[in-house]
Amino acid sequence: MAAFNLSLDPAQIEITLKPNAVFTEAYNITNNSTSTLLLSSSVSAWVPADKEGGVLYQDTVDPPLIFSLSNTDLKLGQDFTLKAGQKKQLVLKIINPSDEIKDYYLTFFISQKPYTQIQSGHQNLAKIGSHLLITTGQQSSPLSNFKVSKLNISPKFKDIFIPLTISGEIANDGQHYNHIDGQLTIYKNNQIFSEHSLFPYTVIPSSSRLIMCVNPDSEAVPCRLKIPLWPGKYQGLITLNGNATKYEYPFSFFVFPYTLTIFILFIFFLFALILKNKR
């Protein structure tokens, strides 16, 4: 039975286009299945759906950008076949005819079409997309305007033997998308206790992304402080670079030896009970 197995490279591009700029991007499409696929290409606009990079496709006004394929044998939207194991390169051409300063969020889709003798085929179909994040305007490197919009340090009772998780959100109050470029630093007694780089998520204007840290494998992981933690007051600082002025978000928390105290009290009461029984 026919299967679908398609790969698309790259999965996302981010560009800034000045007025009248022309940009081309080569997309490599590979049919990894054992059957021929009938495909077509298209571009659709999206809006952010959540704080984790999800997207929502809506009926939106077409952007003024002009999209076409530079391939000599194919137009955008035109059907093409890809045989089993075959690769094809589609070169997407984007022209910015306007001098408007704006961001556009789009997806370049490769859509499967029914490849059957009967045109009213009833087979399931698949689409695979690659995001395009485009800023238009005269500025080549627009500044970001990021801020920490939420911060939470859990658990509520901070114990020396329980790892602390620092979570929250970073909001983009600017006009253009940008990447988070920042650090989380924890100080104890005015000395650096731990330092973490924040994961460089893309944040779209008027939206926010969750604060995550980068692990040694460059993956996004929750920002956690390793145990044991010395009891006392800790100060934290989230620093965001890329804004017009350096942004700093200070916070503090207190770690108390709850478990140790409970254990000592338990031992104390146990001894007290034994002594009482002996008397």
Partner: protein, 240 residues
Amino acid sequence: MKSKFIIISSLLLLYLSTSLIHAQHFTSDSYIIDWGNFNLTSGRKTSVNYRLTDTVGQNAPGFSEGDSLRIKAGFQYIYDMSRVISFTIDKLNIDFGTLVPGIGVTDTNLLTVTTPSGRGYQIMAQENHPLWINSSNFIPNATCDLGDCTATLSSPWTSSSKYGFGYNVTGIGATAYFPGSTYFRPFADFSQNQESVIVASESKPVKDRQATVTYRVLVSPLQSAGNYENYITYTLVPRY
């Protein structure tokens, strides 16, 4: 004789002192590109104390800016081992066979996803129309046991008296949408102008992540005989 020896020795010395030029040849249906630059080496190196990611030999890595555009080309902003997104559906034809009123029939699809480094994914689904012979003769979309499931909300559907066509998805990425294997919902219906809805998603990169779609159809004794058909479109996009 001496001058010949000097010339030959000089040529030999010149040949031995040169290094190889690493060039790259690309072809496609539309283009042939001969490119004079190619990484000599790149990758991830580890030792007991250090981790190193490198790209050696690339002439213009990273940020590029021209008169009218700016490009962040796949270098180590985050360590991009892979830029490829891929999507597999194990079979494209779902055949329920001959349906018996009051007896639910199921079939499954296995969806497999691989995402690029640093990015999660979302899979969306939509039907072109309900299972139908024509627009006036159709199997209704499932409403589940309590009549409360919708295209965006799943609920238990085990009853043999609640007729319809619906689906469940199991897998790590689907738990937020389908709490269990008995939770079903109808597909978003394109003919009713319903947008494609998310059926599985994750915010972390995945390799060969699988999700199983279980289709269920249950017809009433009053359902007309005939071939009921529709198709489901699955859409995979990365998280931005």
